[in-house]
């Protein structure tokens, strides 16, 4: 039976379960067992969803020097011979996975957004390349373990029947390394994650100068403001509200795209969006071809008119 190891990032547990869907996409009908490696206080997330969990009692996953964790996983690999190792493409995962792949002498595919099976039985991992302009299907020549980091918020896992999770406690055999020491940490305000928002009012190059006008419309629709890369690059908005391949993947029910052209790298950040309304002076902009409604015209004027209508529906 194939064994899959899934790394749970204790900083970012929300998307941990999605990686089970990746495992399902790899093995389909073939039997496989899932193993999670998680820190002590995050193991609750995996109980009932995984067959086995390696519970780290000494907070290996939180350590700033990922070498300690690499040591432990490399040891587990020689004992359990996992056929694939899935790592979330979080900041920790992106530092961990390349080192681990190098240690295990295997290839690594970054930021996977899809799994395909080729006609000759090879597994192809799909990822956007060249800023999302093209999709690349990548093979590791069938070597094991198959290693990847998985783009967050892309796969959706439907929970199956509850499993009896067997808990295996692990400790790192060597002393923790002392070369990286945390001095202090400041939490960011939690309410601003655009990935949690049901409505996003998003601005692009076409509305750069009036980006602050988006806030009022977002408030009226009980949503949040997000931005395209060109807005973020110009310094008008911060990177944590950026939608796209180099920003976040979002799945709101409503996405209002104001002055957004819709380059592929931006479109890559829209997954399972129910409705798109785009406002653009160019109705042939790529974003418009994905929209339920295209408003041809100026985005600022649109905001003003729509807000007026929302505030006083009787006036016409």
């Amino acid at each position: 039976m194939s064994r899959v190891l899934i790394v749970i990032d204790s900083e970012n547990t929300k998307n941990a379960i999605e990686l089970l869907e990746v495992a399902r996409c790899i093995y389909l009908e073939q039997p496989y067992e899932t193993y999670a490696i998680a820190d002590g206080d995050t193991s609750n997330i995996v109980i009932g969803n995984f067959h086995h969990v390696f519970k780290s009692v000494d907070d290996l996953i939180k350590r700033p020097d990922v070498r300690d964790l690499v040591d432990v996983i490399a040891e587990l690999q020689s004992a359990y011979h996992f056929s694939s190792i899935l790592v979330p493409a979080t900041q920790m995962g992106r530092m961990l996975a390349p080192r681990l792949a190098m240690r295990l002498h295997v290839g690594l595919v970054a930021d996977v957004t899809g799994v395909e099976h080729s006609t000759d039985g090879e597994i192809h991992l799909v990822r956007p390349a060249f800023s999302g302009k093209i999709m690349a299907c990548i093979s590791n020549y069938g070597k094991t373990p198959l290693m990847m980091t998985v783009r967050q918020n892309v796969f959706t896992y439907e929970p199956q029947k509850k499993l009896q999770t067997d808990v295996i406690e692990i400790k790192s055999s060597s002393k923790p390394r002392r070369s990286v020491n945390l001095i202090h940490t400041t939490a960011k305000p939690a309410s601003h994650d655009i990935r949690d928002s049901k409505v996003l009012v998003s601005g692009g190059g076409g509305i750069k100068r009036d980006f602050n006008k988006l806030e009022a419309l977002a408030n009226a629709l009980d949503g949040q403001v997000s931005a395209s890369r060109s807005i973020v690059d110009s310094g008008v908005a911060t990177r944590n509200v950026q939608v796209g391949q180099s920003g976040k993947t979002v799945s709101p029910k409503l996405y209002i795209a104001l002055g957004i052209y819709g380059a592929l790298q931006h479109i890559e950040g829209l997954k399972n969006v129910h409705h798109i309304i785009s406002v653009n002076t160019n109705k042939e902009a790529p974003i418009c071809s994905l929209s339920d409604i295209v408003v041809e015209g100026d985005a600022v004027e649109f905001i003003e008119k729509l807000l007026k209508k929302i505030n006083d529906p009787t006036e016409s």
Partner: protein, 265 residues
Amino acid sequence: MRIVCLVKFTPDVENFIYDYERNVLVREKTRMVINPDDACALGFALKMKQKSSDLKVDVITMAPMSVLPFVEDLIRRGVDQVFMISDKRFVGSDTYVTSKIIQRGLSDLSYDCVLTGTHAIDGDTSHVPAQLGELLDLPQISNIIKIDEQNFSQNYALIEVDGESSTSSYEVELPAILSISKESKYKLPYVKYEAVSQDVSDKIKIITNETLEFADEEVGLKGSKTKVARTYVKKMTKEDRLVVQNDEAGIELVYQFLKQKGFLS
């Protein structure tokens, strides 16, 4: 103190030309730029060099010979020496092989700190800094937005990292690989007017496989652990879209749509 900066020249992805008919990137027509995150890393190093005269800044880059003019400009911007790894045999190397090549290229250099960018705008895998860290058995930290200039010495660095849910500062023992984010806003200095035509050839060392001595099957496509099996361009269109004007009727339609779908009460 010696800093080595790892620099990548990438196609300017914002303005590149893709041949959708033949499904290939038109590289000849694509302008090369210094990867933005790497430019910030080098910007920091050169800023430190201006402050202390005994600090040396070297660059190591793996690039085709066509970027030589950009490499020359790095010297004119203040870099002491550039080690340019360039060999046709290395074309097609994945990140695994690339890291090994760079490791070997670094083996004759002495350094207290390796600075890199976090992301590259073309591949955007962020593999090489971490894999190089593994090969050199050095700690590697990504997404650095600040390095404390007062407390940057041969022995340690104080850094600030922009995390997903927090901002953290760490003390890192050197040598280490510090990967800077574009958010750091460190700027690459301009080429000074008097340096524009300065002859810099003695400060650029081209490193080929004659020196690195990899076997053919260890590098390029042959040595790579991954291969691109195929590529495609995603085409998506929505069939039943409505196009309206930004007038009363258009706004009314949007308003009714928002109400109907429950976004407005």
